[in-house]
Symmetry: C4
Subunit: 501 residues, 4 copies
Amino acid sequence: MTVSIEEIKKHNTKKDCWVIIHGKVYNVSDFIDEHPGGSAIILKYAGKDATKAFDPVHPGDTLIKYLAPKYHLGDAEKSTAPKKKNDEYDDDEDEPPTPEELDRRQLVKNKPDLSQMYNLNDFEFVARHTMEKTAWAYYSSGCDDEITLRENHVSYQRIFFKPRVLVDVSEIDLSTTMLGTKVSIPIYITATALGKLGHPDGEKVLTRSAAKQDVIQMIPTLASCSFDEIVDQAIDKQTQWLQLYVNKDRKICESIVRHAQKRGIKGLFITVDAPQLGRREKDMRSKKVEDLSHVQGDDDEADRTQGAARAISSFIDTSLNWKDIKWFRSITKMPIILKGIQTVEDSLLAIEHGVDGIVLSNHGGRQLEFSKPPLEVLIELMPILKSKGLQDKLEIYIDGGVRRATDVLKAICLGAKGVGLGRPFLYAMSTYGDEGVYKAIQILKDEMIMNMRLLGVTSIDQLNDSYIDTRNFQTRYLPEDRLFGSVYEPLVSPTFKSSKL
Amino acid sequence: MTVSIEEIKKHNTKKDCWVIIHGKVYNVSDFIDEHPGGSAIILKYAGKDATKAFDPVHPGDTLIKYLAPKYHLGDAEKSTAPKKKNDEYDDDEDEPPTPEELDRRQLVKNKPDLSQMYNLNDFEFVARHTMEKTAWAYYSSGCDDEITLRENHVSYQRIFFKPRVLVDVSEIDLSTTMLGTKVSIPIYITATALGKLGHPDGEKVLTRSAAKQDVIQMIPTLASCSFDEIVDQAIDKQTQWLQLYVNKDRKICESIVRHAQKRGIKGLFITVDAPQLGRREKDMRSKKVEDLSHVQGDDDEADRTQGAARAISSFIDTSLNWKDIKWFRSITKMPIILKGIQTVEDSLLAIEHGVDGIVLSNHGGRQLEFSKPPLEVLIELMPILKSKGLQDKLEIYIDGGVRRATDVLKAICLGAKGVGLGRPFLYAMSTYGDEGVYKAIQILKDEMIMNMRLLGVTSIDQLNDSYIDTRNFQTRYLPEDRLFGSVYEPLVSPTFKSSKL
Amino acid sequence: MTVSIEEIKKHNTKKDCWVIIHGKVYNVSDFIDEHPGGSAIILKYAGKDATKAFDPVHPGDTLIKYLAPKYHLGDAEKSTAPKKKNDEYDDDEDEPPTPEELDRRQLVKNKPDLSQMYNLNDFEFVARHTMEKTAWAYYSSGCDDEITLRENHVSYQRIFFKPRVLVDVSEIDLSTTMLGTKVSIPIYITATALGKLGHPDGEKVLTRSAAKQDVIQMIPTLASCSFDEIVDQAIDKQTQWLQLYVNKDRKICESIVRHAQKRGIKGLFITVDAPQLGRREKDMRSKKVEDLSHVQGDDDEADRTQGAARAISSFIDTSLNWKDIKWFRSITKMPIILKGIQTVEDSLLAIEHGVDGIVLSNHGGRQLEFSKPPLEVLIELMPILKSKGLQDKLEIYIDGGVRRATDVLKAICLGAKGVGLGRPFLYAMSTYGDEGVYKAIQILKDEMIMNMRLLGVTSIDQLNDSYIDTRNFQTRYLPEDRLFGSVYEPLVSPTFKSSKL
Amino acid sequence: MTVSIEEIKKHNTKKDCWVIIHGKVYNVSDFIDEHPGGSAIILKYAGKDATKAFDPVHPGDTLIKYLAPKYHLGDAEKSTAPKKKNDEYDDDEDEPPTPEELDRRQLVKNKPDLSQMYNLNDFEFVARHTMEKTAWAYYSSGCDDEITLRENHVSYQRIFFKPRVLVDVSEIDLSTTMLGTKVSIPIYITATALGKLGHPDGEKVLTRSAAKQDVIQMIPTLASCSFDEIVDQAIDKQTQWLQLYVNKDRKICESIVRHAQKRGIKGLFITVDAPQLGRREKDMRSKKVEDLSHVQGDDDEADRTQGAARAISSFIDTSLNWKDIKWFRSITKMPIILKGIQTVEDSLLAIEHGVDGIVLSNHGGRQLEFSKPPLEVLIELMPILKSKGLQDKLEIYIDGGVRRATDVLKAICLGAKGVGLGRPFLYAMSTYGDEGVYKAIQILKDEMIMNMRLLGVTSIDQLNDSYIDTRNFQTRYLPEDRLFGSVYEPLVSPTFKSSKL
């Protein structure tokens, strides 16, 4: 059945609410109050096409899963309105874009060739200037003053190398093993939410690139694509892991875990650093009040403005604790890894509770501001594990702030089994799609080979702490505070009577 | 009786001086030489309306208290002059505003919605651009190069957290007790002078917001509102404290203290870091020579330019010393707290003299430049108190530079009982009034809940130094010197013959 | 006799060279080859008025002393040429001033009132914008990258205070004693060369202000005024010291010293850090090739461009060594102080050689780049002297980088007897003359009184190292390198195809 | 025989390819596939004049050595086309220069006089603005984020001096001995590749200046001039050293070494830090895709864009190791020095393998990012050598980041025998040719004499670690990261409704 645009437009109230999604018309009147993201965001599109807002935050099977067939009203009439002549405007836009948005679209058209990307920072630079404002803000933001966000990277620069010379480095082998899987380089694509904000194919782009480059992808709970879409995208023998936000409803949780095991997932990464998702002010600031900020949909103002992450995370169980580990063991044979360990103390507890691994991580600087950089925790942790003979009891992963092969090498020298990268691949995906992510990993591989040669090692297992100088961590310098600093009004010198001095 | 404007204008000399205040005419000729703020500032308004300059520095009952009825001459004739058409001008302005002032008024009209305030720095940003120049300068300024002012905040950023995971954090309780009063969050509104510079209701705005948010307000000696006005504004059972500048005349001092106790004040905070009020060059620089700088009123040039604070503080007793504590004990049963302790040594003396608490404070960086940040004193103090078994002998408060819930958490972890904030609430009050202050406290509460969750604690009493890493304080980095740095002329490279290089 | 301008103009060659100085005509043909500053600078003014270039580098009695009466030809005809209408031009200018110079003259006319000077940096700011380019460059420059110049000041900011409260600070006494002289504040005006570059009265301005403020002036060897002019300017009982560059010709040296003692000088400060005067690139860069740079006058290019200081310092004895101290003792009873001690080792040698005092100084950052800041030497020195019981064997002075009373207080707390300031008083003199220097000292006094109150001390002898925290000196941070940093070309991100990004 | 331009133009394909070099026509069709730099770069010039691209990367005897006479076709017809009127264009340019290039040519015409060069940074400043873009990029670039490049210099600024006074410094002797050669100052001109990028005479400029200033030149393997051209340029008794990249083909290697010994080379410096040449992004970014980046000529995109260095370095043996030292000993009597030692461990191995010296170097920050600054390695190395009695077993040289005589003095104080400078002399050569290099060395000599005087030493052998304070190296500060920092988007304050704030 085809429904006319005129007809659809009439159903634009909370009690009588129709929306178009991917060309189909749905009556969501009965559902609107149960929408986990709140009613406000739906109402914004009442009587209109909601596809663009719907896609990034809902996996492809959402409507089928959650909306009974009777609410599927038919196909929306195709627009017969003449295309606007100004090709700067998207067809589905109600209002003309802002000057900033027009500038952005120009930059999209003029973006550098992929061949001009020489390092992972380059993708971030292009992403910053070409991604849609809210998408960029969601990906790039950290908590509070973003000090932790930056410290994560900066901490790597506090380590210097002690390179050895006159070693035969003709052949370099980058491969290693993670949780039993052989990989081509000791990095993996870590889980990050809402992939469709950056690319229409969402997380599937990462799946395809991971396959081509022989690295592991960790599938996020909050993916834009459904779990099965992402697993289906994988080639034979491609290894994927699952990142899990633990649902308050343990039955849902159990069904997710069992399904993942059945689909061949090789590692269960339980996120432990996010009982509540952080406030990310760059994200909040990026939106107009009436925009994505309404996703949350309730009437509390504080909540209404807290961005996409909060909207989709209300299900996370704040009561998750060490006792739950046993239960997870009982429902799966997958290796269990705790993602988000931030102290030596909790690393030791993890061993005590018999998990298979930990990820030293502060969630990319998006959760607790002033959580110590994972690299610093790693530096403290390894000597303690070694002194207790526990260094082989679990595999240690690390993420946050990694941009260069030198960063990866430093973490491996310190005892990490593998290094996760998130944002850099999102930026590569958002700017150059599959080729971008492939190239980003290739850059890391090229850098790794060169730097291992220059360091005087030929395989990953040769890397150890004799190759690095970590004395910088005995003291700490002052992190850079850009917000407080920018708000402070500096002193001035006396004013000349008629002059600009 | 109504007095004509024409008549008033005639009495414009020191010997024959009339002024209008709140529509009433006063003959101040006999009083002018005794004015604590000097005669110059009165003379500036001789024959004119002085209300705007009078209000912020005089509590509402000043005229009744200090000027005999015979000097109250009657009502001033209402202005019949046609309103100026240019609505940018205030009615009572003698001269057209400066371009800077016109810009400021535009900004006032365009200020962001309150909902756009995401952190306490945001209020400062809006205040900086919308407050009247002299008011902003008085609130924001610090002493000398404002290094101490900035160190107060920056010191908090030298502490990193050691957050624990897998703790059940479903329920978070922010409440605690200060000097016996249960409060909703371990912060209080500390005393700051001249509230009417920022808002016509002055300190009463803070009283009302404190009530709504269930926090304690400390009433300043140098309030724009009278003490009783502020106490009257409080609701039943609302707790208020009193900050006391000790008057040279101990009888006045005693009467203030006894009155405060009678009115139900629950804590007497004696300021000990201000035998002389500091020079604040930003404040001094902000005024035209003939403006508020004349408040002091004497002929010494150095004094004439030292701003509002000096003008109203000449009564402070420079001889106040440890022996006086006993006397205070003899006149009141209120808990006595010393505000402005800056060393371990004086903290120990405070215990010896039996006071109930101390506030580690350097007066918000407004007194002695290079006084150590209170947080650093706290870090040194607690281990010493514990080693002597004195940690429960007094309650320790701290103020200066607090902007984020993470700052509050760090101070509590180190042993502080409560944390005072001054400027942030002044900025919130000056920009958005009652709603602003309410929102500012709400932001802190929201941040506190989230950060306690992420830190893995559920109540204030669980916080201790195992959650923080203070190694940064073993050494110190170089504070930022913006004034000296800006005056220094950098070296240049050689000049090309005809080029801008 | 009056000589016509036409006539004078004819004598413009090396063999036949007349010049006008202060309206008098001199034949310098026979003298030109013996001119210590070289012939080039004289030739530049051959046949012209040389007064402006002559004054700053020659004391007033130079012509009488060194040029036989027969070379004094008479008075120069007074110019009858009509004054140029453009009052921006000086009368004696041959060519129109540069745009930069015209800008400067505008700024001179619009300079802030003296009452707007709130700290010593303010004088530097005004001086930088109003002084003649070459004069500013000579006063302000340091050696090499000017890192030492800035470290001298910045080192003070590494010390924080530990202020004591509840001390009766009603009465503050700033006075102290230096080499037996009672002074009003523990600072002195240190010796700096070429005072007439900044003010027509040169060092006499400093003499007069020193008298009014009751501080000691150290008279420089390289003064623009003659030694006797400066001593004559002093009032009865005013104390002056003499700074001495030791001449290769010890007879000249002895006659200077004996004359000084006879004139009542109370201290002989022998400069030991300048066997060769430093290269100061800001100074060198400031001049046109044909300008003051020719003062040196020889044909070696490297020397020709090394500025005023080198030109007038060729007499300094590079062979001066410890053995010479005994000889100085034999020719004078004045206290002998070594100015320019930069190590603990040399401080101990100084005691061994029985001098009366030392000035810890690196010559204001004008000699050896990376000489340690004097304050750091002082911090190291005092504990060693105390451990050897030598702390009373000599008086320790310090100079370099002092701008605030807090700086002075820190040096005194560390054991310095007095603190010398040079540039700040030059800048005050160059911008506001006598009143400027008086005000600059008054600012320091006002700051001292306030800061001693806030520190909890009432007299200079109470200051000791319990009032300061010097832990910052256990490690050192990286000094700021502006030149290398500005020459380095930063990395860039990839270029968008048609955009400014 | 003369070949017409028209005829040459026809041979512009891979199978039929003629090029003009220095006015002569060559048929390179048979050779094109064997070109070590790849075929792409040749094809770019097929049928055209290739001289400008050919010269910097090929020594003068290349064509004779590698191209059989039958391919030398004759002289190219001289261009009879009228000169373009716009003298901004080079004659041989196919297309008009870019605006940036035109700006640069203007700057070349207006460059400062040589007399305005006051320090070595000045040459870099002029070079940056006047050198051709790709030449500047090749010389100036470092690896990755160029942190190592800058640390090399900045590390010198972490050392402060402890200057001694009252030493007779009338006579200063800068001379010293390196590998048995007496030199006028303890510096040498280190090997750097592709001298003709900066000057048409290439390395010969450095040879001539070295002779005039009596310093040693190290001849690079990758010189633009042939080894013999450079040796022929030397005067009698002038000492030269040879830097050697070890060729995979040891016969070629042996013939180079034996020839060098025969020609009188006095030291063989084997580069050990470059099994693979580093990626230098500034260099890569500087070129258009179709430009010098094709030198590599193969089809792998990653390789195609890696700049000149990679193109000419494919012969370097990645298998070179400690066992090879013995072989070198067997083929030459020249002293053997390992250039590029970066750790204490390898320094000790070098002694064990009996070499005559080492150069502590990280290749000017062009190879492994985060290799420790050589100065820091030197600080660690010397105490260990002394404790083992090995300090005289080999001569220690150092290079990287040296710009001032104070840098040289610090290295010598720490035990270095000599200090190598590369880039500063390249910049001096590229801007002012022979006179520039002479002046640059002269500046260092002038600075050395002055600074030794001010340090209180008169000859090089007196320098030792009692003259320096190295405590800054006990901890390390955070290096400056300009790229990551510039890509990060700072937080912003809330937006006013209609304002630019």
